[in-house]
Amino acid sequence: MLFFSYFKDLVGREVTVELKNDLAIRGTLHSVDQYLNIKLENTRVVDQDKYPHMLSVRNCFIRGSVVRYVQLPPEGVDVELLHDATRREARGG
């Protein structure tokens, strides 16, 4: 559940989601669920010319299983906090 909580804290931030099919989408994180499915708003595809069919997609749902990376804003990562949470979770708390 750690990463679920972690992503929930990132809601409202601008992220780039890179999929396993190399499609990279940038947008505002709207919500995440337990499968790490992601909903983005105000999306734009990083390489628009290569994916013309994505032109009019503004909001989208991405299935968690096809995500390769989520690129986060640097200020969205609190390493200390993540560190503590990881230890807590490892202890089973």
């Binding site: 499609l23 709207h30 992601i38 069919h53 009019s56 503004r58 989208c60 749902f61 299935r63 096809v66």
Partner: protein, 128 residues
């Protein structure tokens, strides 16, 4: 089975907000399906009414009508809401008939095949 509270439904990651809207569904094999979302579940299995497949080759495109589709969730990559106020495709793209798009697909396939065989024939040169 418990259901989230109504407020939760709108704010959550569920596909409920997309019901009865025209969507673009991207599949793992690269296919692009368009249609109205009529049903879904937690695996992202979806039912599309009036589905069609959008075939794109270069600057040509064609929407092939398919009918009612049930898509197994594991094949879904992305479900996008289409902004109706915006052009679905760039202006320079032309809508053609299915026959024409199939011809273009074949031409593209032949071109890549040819590139492959050329490369194979040149392998003895051992570029590395």
């Amino acid at each position: 089975m418990s259901w989230p509270a109504p407020d939760d439904v709108l704010l959550s990651t569920s596909l409920a907000t997309y019901l009865d809207k025209k969507l673009l569904v991207l599949l793992r094999d690269g296919r692009k399906l368009l249609g109205l979302l009529r049903s879904f579940d937690q695996f992202a299995n979806v039912v599309l009414e009036g589905a069609c497949e959008r075939l794109i080759v270069g600057d040509l495109y064609c929407d092939v009508p398919l009918g009612l589709y049930v898509i197994r969730g594991e094949n879904v990559v992305l479900i996008g809401e289409l902004d109706l106020g915006k052009e679905e495709l760039p202006q320079h793209m032309t809508c053609v008939s299915e026959a024409e798009i199939r011809k273009a697909q074949k031409a593209e396939r032949d071109a890549t095949d040819l590139k492959g065989t050329m490369r194979k024939r040149m392998e003895f040169l051992d570029f590395d």
